[in-house]
């Protein structure tokens, strides 16, 4: 059953790639849907890890391939794919001197990716292809290595260790860096490489790795992530949708009166939990739990130690507050992680763990439809960046 579903998905994506030119006004069709799932793959195998299949093409050609097991992450911006899974040649980005441009990308979990910035035609669902700079994850790019590189950190080396083939960063910003990297060569993200040595380089906005969604001809003002709920002991897998656009088609229209929380300029919202205020809170499909500080919740023993293991499930709630004054109360549960893991299931809505600020990870998205507006892009919900749910 799962295999059949995967085959029909691939066929659909290939059709989208080759027929992209014929579909210029098809925004009302379901072409704006990218199927997403948890627990349906061997590579993308972490608990609460949301993944999708994307199609990537050599620019201007119909030479395309599908890439499965791509992490769907609204906490980052831009598509990143391991070179080892790419069989399609892409177009290398160069600086003013003709030197190849590479990038260090830093993730909140301490992970870092290094590799060249290359232009690809990327197909999301049945949308027309968009031409966009992406990062090819390749630790040896520019004569560097996983331990010796401009990122000053260990960088990811292969999909198995990373547990994804790539990351689809569809967060609230257009580019992954923005003006800072357009004007500063010492931005610590972008480098140009020549003869085994890489030095910092400023990169114009249009050449930066960026969110493919805002480059779509339509359905480009944001995304909707909609996932079914699961029972208290979780589910072996879930399937849902990443829908492109907000209020641009029948399948992405927000219900009237849905509350909106706008983020601050850094993309953060505020969460109030048990009387404490956390101003750097994030809503992040790339985090696999609900992470927040609560000394009254028992932590699990190793190797589950960052997670909570209360003797019985706790009913809790936090209030998400936007810079527009919007407030949304979010009730949630935290269960005993040891009991959850013993089920062998992959999707849980009540997986929680310790951190110093509030991180609303994937459990938040289960059983919800979440509208995420991109910076500077307008919809009936306002101008991004914002969340509505």
């Amino acid at each position: 059953m799962r295999w059949v579903a995967a085959v029909s998905l691939v066929v659909g994506l290939l059709a989208g790639c080759s027929n992209g030119d014929d579909d210029s006004n098809g925004s009302s069709s379901a072409g704006n849907v990218v199927p997403v799932s948890v627990g349906q793959s061997a590579v993308c195998r972490t608990i609460n890890q949301l993944c999708a299949v994307i199609t990537i093409c050599q620019p201007g050609t119909s030479n395309c391939q599908t890439v499965p097991d791509v992490l769907v992450d609204n906490g980052s911006v831009g598509l990143r794919v391991f070179s080892s899974v790419l069989s399609t040649p892409l177009a290398q980005t160069v600086d003013a001197q003709g030197r190849a441009v590479g990038e260090c990308t830093f993730f909140a979990d301490g992970g870092t990716t290094w590799g060249p910035v290359q232009v690809a035609d990327v197909v999301l669902g049945g949308e027309p292809a968009v031409r966009v700079p992406v990062q090819v994850i390749q630790s040896t790019f520019g004569g560097q290595s996983s331990s010796s590189n401009p990122c000053n950190d260990e960088v990811d080396i292969d999909p198995q260790a990373a547990s994804f083939n790539g990351i689809l960063g569809i967060g609230i910003f257009r580019q992954d860096c923005g003006l800072v990297c357009a004007v500063n060569s010492n931005n610590t993200l972008y480098f140009s490489c020549n003869g085994g040595s890489c030095t910092g380089v400023a990169v114009p906005l249009g050449d930066q790795v960026q969110n493919p969604v805002w480059l779509l001809p339509s359905n480009n003002n944001g995304i909707v992530i909609t996932l079914p709920n699961v029972s208290a002991m979780g589910a072996p897998s879930v399937s849902g949708s990443l829908i492109l656009g907000i209020g641009t088609a029948g399948n992405n229209s927000p219900p009237s009166g849905i509350p909106v929380v706008t983020t601050d300029e850094n993309g953060f919202v505020t969460t109030v939990y048990k009387g404490r205020t956390f101003s750097q809170s994030i809503i992040d499909s790339g985090s696999n739990g609900l992470f927040f500080p609560d000394a009254s919740l028992r932590q699990c023993a190793a190797p589950l130690d960052p997670f909570y293991c209360p003797p019985s499930a706790m009913n809790l709630a936090g209030t998400v507050i936007g810079t527009n004054g919007g407030q949304i109360v979010v009730p949630f549960q935290v269960a005993n992680t040891e009991n959850l893991v013993q089920t062998g299931n992959a999707a849980f809505n009540n997986l929680g763990g310790d951190f110093s600020i509030f991180d609303w990870g994937l459990p938040f998205f289960l059983g919800r439809t979440v509208f995420i507006g991109i910076e500077g892009q307008s919809s009936s919900l306002g101008t991004g960046p914002y969340f509505a749910f």
Binding site: A161, P306, V341, F355, S356
Partner: protein, 154 residues
């Protein structure tokens, strides 16, 4: 004294390979803040807090705050920005411990996707945020001045 530090720092600028933990800030005397500023080619600003001083170094979209105790020791470092500062420089002798922590998190099974956190009695390091707005903090729990808590380090 000031000019001596200046000339040492200039020498370092032209010989980056000799940069090592000895020039780091965390756990080092307050003078290391100025060395960090010179190496980062940043702007520096000081302001007093309650029971400590905060030195801020700003460069290319990154802001580094170094917390200096009344007895002149850097007990915490906080960074925010689009990129990431050189943590080998800022964490100094604690960098290896941090690096081991990152590697342990990376190879942890079951795999955990959460903001990075290393928490021991000796050292706390956290990273968080998302594209465009990354942040991190590191502090020495045993070196916090009286009345200062982890919540003050932001």
């Amino acid at each position: 004294m000031k000019s001596l530090i200046g000339s040492v720092a200039v020498t370092l600028l032209f010989a980056p390979t000799v940069l090592g933990p000895v020039w780091a800030a965390l756990g080092e005397p307050a003078a290391s803040v100025e060395r960090d500023r010179v190496i980062m080619k940043g702007q520096r600003q000081s302001r007093p807090g309650t029971g400590y001083t905060i030195d801020t170094i700003s460069v290319a979209g990154i802001q580094v705050k170094e917390y200096v105790s009344p007895d002149g020791v850097v007990f915490a470092v906080v960074w925010t920005g689009t990129g990431a500062p050189d943590l080998q420089l800022l964490l100094g002798e604690y960098f290896e411990e941090y690096r081991e922590g990152v590697n342990a998190a990376r190879s942890h099974r079951p795999k955990i996707r959460k903001p990075f956190q290393l928490k021991s009695e000796r050292l706390v390091v956290e990273r968080g945020g998302h594209s465009r707005s990354l942040w991190g903090r590191a502090f020495l729990p045993a070196a916090l001045p009286p009345g200062v808590t982890a919540e003050d380090i932001r």
